[in-house]
Symmetry: D3
Subunit: 300 residues, 6 copies
Amino acid sequence: MIDAVDMDAAALKAATLVEALPYIRRFAGKTVVVKYGGNALAGTSEHDALALFAEDVVLMRLVGMQPVVVHGGGPQISEMMLRLGKQTEFVDGLRVTDAETVDIARMVLKGQVNPQLVAAINVHGNYAVGVSGVDGGLIRAQVRDPDLGFVGDVTSINPGVLRGMLDNEFIPVIATIGSDEHGQAYNINADTVAGAIAEALGAEKLVYLTDIEGLRRQVDDPASLIRQTTANELESLVADGSIAGGMIPKVASCVHAVRNGVHNAHILDGRIAHVLLLEIFTDSGIGTMIKGSEPQEGTT
Amino acid sequence: MIDAVDMDAAALKAATLVEALPYIRRFAGKTVVVKYGGNALAGTSEHDALALFAEDVVLMRLVGMQPVVVHGGGPQISEMMLRLGKQTEFVDGLRVTDAETVDIARMVLKGQVNPQLVAAINVHGNYAVGVSGVDGGLIRAQVRDPDLGFVGDVTSINPGVLRGMLDNEFIPVIATIGSDEHGQAYNINADTVAGAIAEALGAEKLVYLTDIEGLRRQVDDPASLIRQTTANELESLVADGSIAGGMIPKVASCVHAVRNGVHNAHILDGRIAHVLLLEIFTDSGIGTMIKGSEPQEGTT
Amino acid sequence: MIDAVDMDAAALKAATLVEALPYIRRFAGKTVVVKYGGNALAGTSEHDALALFAEDVVLMRLVGMQPVVVHGGGPQISEMMLRLGKQTEFVDGLRVTDAETVDIARMVLKGQVNPQLVAAINVHGNYAVGVSGVDGGLIRAQVRDPDLGFVGDVTSINPGVLRGMLDNEFIPVIATIGSDEHGQAYNINADTVAGAIAEALGAEKLVYLTDIEGLRRQVDDPASLIRQTTANELESLVADGSIAGGMIPKVASCVHAVRNGVHNAHILDGRIAHVLLLEIFTDSGIGTMIKGSEPQEGTT
Amino acid sequence: MIDAVDMDAAALKAATLVEALPYIRRFAGKTVVVKYGGNALAGTSEHDALALFAEDVVLMRLVGMQPVVVHGGGPQISEMMLRLGKQTEFVDGLRVTDAETVDIARMVLKGQVNPQLVAAINVHGNYAVGVSGVDGGLIRAQVRDPDLGFVGDVTSINPGVLRGMLDNEFIPVIATIGSDEHGQAYNINADTVAGAIAEALGAEKLVYLTDIEGLRRQVDDPASLIRQTTANELESLVADGSIAGGMIPKVASCVHAVRNGVHNAHILDGRIAHVLLLEIFTDSGIGTMIKGSEPQEGTT
Amino acid sequence: MIDAVDMDAAALKAATLVEALPYIRRFAGKTVVVKYGGNALAGTSEHDALALFAEDVVLMRLVGMQPVVVHGGGPQISEMMLRLGKQTEFVDGLRVTDAETVDIARMVLKGQVNPQLVAAINVHGNYAVGVSGVDGGLIRAQVRDPDLGFVGDVTSINPGVLRGMLDNEFIPVIATIGSDEHGQAYNINADTVAGAIAEALGAEKLVYLTDIEGLRRQVDDPASLIRQTTANELESLVADGSIAGGMIPKVASCVHAVRNGVHNAHILDGRIAHVLLLEIFTDSGIGTMIKGSEPQEGTT
Amino acid sequence: MIDAVDMDAAALKAATLVEALPYIRRFAGKTVVVKYGGNALAGTSEHDALALFAEDVVLMRLVGMQPVVVHGGGPQISEMMLRLGKQTEFVDGLRVTDAETVDIARMVLKGQVNPQLVAAINVHGNYAVGVSGVDGGLIRAQVRDPDLGFVGDVTSINPGVLRGMLDNEFIPVIATIGSDEHGQAYNINADTVAGAIAEALGAEKLVYLTDIEGLRRQVDDPASLIRQTTANELESLVADGSIAGGMIPKVASCVHAVRNGVHNAHILDGRIAHVLLLEIFTDSGIGTMIKGSEPQEGTT
């Protein structure tokens, strides 16, 4: 005699596991770069959101994927500058990053935000290792605009240190500080770094966790949510102003990435619990997916 | 705006995936030997049952486990003997396996039952490879009783051919025909072979899929279902007659296996859809688990 | 004092071993695909012929070659159909292979003929492993002609399962059943499969063991035996009718193979004891050799 | 004609390189753990001292050694606490490390001191990678004394993340923050961590860079400088009060390390430029060396 | 129609190849150290004998064995000393090897005899590499007796250079010159070196090619030829004087070798063409075999 | 208190080690082929010069380079011919190398000069292994001019035996005897062999140790010493007669090598102690460097 109620719940569980099967198969051994944003998880307390995110990343690794986490930490930097009584100058509305500011940024990103992410993942085992772009020469940078100080543009990604970690089945967690050939640190936009890392690793997916439901064709119309799009359409939407503001660096990185070897890019709603799992392992379409161009017929 | 109903379903899916996380971690790289019985799946049509079973085995492999399938095929052998008009002799109530009978058994097991299992799994990819105990000298056997003819006892398992397949990430599917040093084939009890293979591979789990809910302390009392037990208790239950009949070889193999390096053995109800997944990847206790002895304090 | 008579015999033995030296050197690490035909060994009892053949294959492996055995089993299938009272339909003189017929073919090839070959080889050690085209997705097939039922054409060879076995120094023995993407089995001409396998493995040699002395330029003239020929000449002989009947699929496979990377193909007389050894390890020319085209001057 | 003066200089250079030869041979492939102390380099400007230290570490790696750098940063932590207006409590004269204090310590060590060391080394190439004890679960810690808050004792070292880096020829630079199983961070004495890491890696040498010339038998007598000593003598000197104060944790770690597989420990004067090179690659005896016990006669 | 006469010859050839089969299987991957003596091949011209020997060694390698050749060259050294007008001193009837003599010995062994052996083997391919005991520190030696000068005893064998060559499938050919820690060369008895090398490599066989039929129980009675014996019996025969003279170092090395891990030792008649092949690959018993002690029951 | 005088010497040592750092980095894993000439070291006793040279070669290996030594031995051959009373014929002023002469050359080079080099290096450890061009078929040669006898031109280099040694971290020392396909030995110009070996190994540097300061633009003007030049300029200097005599084969080999993948070639003054170390590990420019052409812009 088998208890009927248990069996219903069991059947649902089994169905979910079986639903995950083709995705596990498809993504085995594939690299997924996830940009984890400070604002992405407003719907719950930050601590809980981080714990849920950590579970998702660990599950991805356990089924054979190679997750890579990239993070910034603008709010935490601003808060520390406030506590240290450091004034911020602006040039044409942009923050000037002087030597002291970039040192504070490095300290907060590498010494405060990064270890929190690492610790949350490592509750499950010795998986995560935190690095910044200085470690192993990962992110080489140069001055973007002398008037802005030590704000950097990525000049090259040297993924050796990441590959070593992935080969040893660690999960790299990357603070987006780069350096030039003299060892000078630069603060770099984390959205941009995530895209550059994804390209350098030939990632299967580039995922941005945000605090919006996804991209919209008309910014004020929730019904215009874009489920799936292409690099070309996104460029049109930026050109006609439908996409604007803080989404621009993310969208630009998505467009560049899917044109440079990354298979798909995703803008996901980080406020949904376990949104990464749902996107990757279920049939549900969540957020906005930017599809890479399919290989042409006749190519290898 | 996020659809509330979808979110409930999504939350359930996510919960199931997260529930699976510690089990995936625990069993990564571990070998699980599953005895698939012809009678195990009476609750559904055989074809569907086989398809469900194949999904479970493939999912196990995709999350990094090493499933090994062992099967017999008594009913199919009997049916073929009937069709070929072959009479069966009995000695003291046991079937005599003459030269022609063992040839028929080999033909049916390796040529009919085994390819069906392989084909069902390979609908999902090039995973399964069928072997018998003759291949690579996997199962060495000797005469059990001259009066019974070519009924064999296992004398040794040579797991080289299985290790090669597991290293190449194939799923071995094993027909339980063995051979002696002259190449003579023997029919061998599949329950016994499953246990011997599990021991030779140092398997994490040995699983019997049966058509009962599990073992009972009192055979007529469904409430006496045993959720978890030990080798010692099982021996008592066999000694006092509480366990009898066709369960004896399974129980004896379970007892031997958990005393020889196999971590746990399981008697599961193969009539429950996806019972393997539920047992391995969820918190639900299903069927009867025989626990191996824990390592003693002070041992390595 | 050394016994003179022994020394003569010893000198002959030594001469044979030294004669083999350049052939062992030339073929070390090379793959040889041998099609073993049911009719090939009419000159002796089948059991003895099989034992001799097994010795040849084992010796090839022991000196560093990678033998692969391919077999069919038409007579054995016919006999089993007769025993099972299964009627055969014909369309335009060709046998229709309905679902039951292909199941019988699979059962006989994989469950009866294949284990006999494996067992004969494994008398010498744990060398041979039997597979069919279903295992590891080895032979993918499609319907040749809907009127003929489950008679298949090879669409692709997936040699992964063979490579794994060869790397582990096993001898694959292949039953020529293929499957489509739904797991449906097909019966496939064994001569054709042997050629396709040889091409997929980049074999050094493709060898057909037959019951004729070799190909002839005039079918009735024993003196017209062809010792050595080319793909082009063979095509002419087929075109003018000099080669006909059952030799056609073998000859077509030879022609295709030597034009697709296989170095040489051979039609040998399986009635000669140890004909494989004699062909491969001695200076004697035996049967008919089809030479692959030499690499062009100027190519790599 | 060869210029005489140049030849004298050249001969000196050659002599130094040849002097280094037996040391390069002896230490090839050996691990050297160097504790780099904030106070070690008072004789020069800190920036220059760091640059010289970086050259030494890079040279060690280039000749085939595996240097590992461990650092603390007490002064920098104190300075940051001052800037943040954070008061320090004391219990029996020891600083209480509350949750905010350990967060500041982590931030300063991992986010400020560590990247400076990494950047100084990486001026020479992509060699150094910074980690803390949280990364890959490197340093597991527990509360030392509840009254002191999050001051930790090392419970275990999990060197996997270091071995991966050493195998990939990176130079690990370790900030001495540990964590417990819940991910809570602890501040740990860097001298102690250096010894524990050296033992876990089976290091050839454990080196402390300090701001003293070496240990003395009489603390006030420069002539009593100890060139070479043993664990036993050191214990006597601690017991009779000849060694006291801040040297105690270093000396205790040296004693423990040479009794647990580390070959030699060294207390060096970090104020001497390139003191690491001189100690390792020249015949000069510098600072104090604590010799590990030689293998007993008759042991393997 | 098959030519009958050819078939008889073919059958003999096939029989020889099949006779070799179990020996090829047994010795695959095994090392055989062969001492090739200058006097061993008196029955034929030296050049032809060398060519036959080279064929044997190459065949051994081609079927997967690892032959290692050791040689001396006393007659060639004596001849060169004569040509150079170098007088030989004697002490108690033993030749004194002064510095000039050992230089001549090294020159003749490494520069004259060794390259002849290498060249003879390499007619068949790039197999042989000549080394002396100086190369890679292979043979470390010390003075046997100061009165004899640079006559050395083996103190240790450092087989690294041989293992590297065997791993790369080369055939080492070893001139028996050793050296001490100062680089001083010593002349060493080649029979002794062959035994020491066989032990250091854990060889399957140690073979001495001599100019006698084998050992005899009574030195003057050809009928007393010893086919098979043990270390114990050999010691008795030496003790009672039945074995004497130049056989002593060979017999002592055989006894020591089979008691230190070498499976069998052989004294073969090098005057028989291809005696190595006959001993190793045929059922014929040739010369004298000294059997190593079988592993005791109960040992691993 | 630190002794001031010691510190000056220490600072000089440290400066030299730091000066070596970029060179060690640049040449790690790179192959350097050094032609060691019998006349190169006239400034000191030959024994001491050899010891210094050995130190240089060992130091190169210890810092991760792959040194390969090539040597001839003309004077030693002449001396041995004199001792053996062997007359030399001349044809057009060139020495005729008859069969006996090439045997003597092989004996002296492989049996006398080569072991001396090997022994000098191996005083420092088991590093060097001596080979000639016959070993492993390293140098294949053919007759240059029938009138000159067994004087050979290089037809091909088969570097397999060298690669195996370099992989096992041995230092090959090569005597310049080659052989044809029949095993016949040839004496070959050592300068030419050094260049051919450097090309076959894709060496970073080809170095000739000579007894001149370097090449000169005007042969009689020491001030015209060429510090750095190109293949094109060298060809001009040969064409106009500025370079002549014994330098021609060296210069021709340098030109050929830098045009075939070798990065730089060097003519160094072997009379300067440790000239190899000074050239490779210091900023001093010594002797003449021939630069290889830089990779063109746009090439990989």
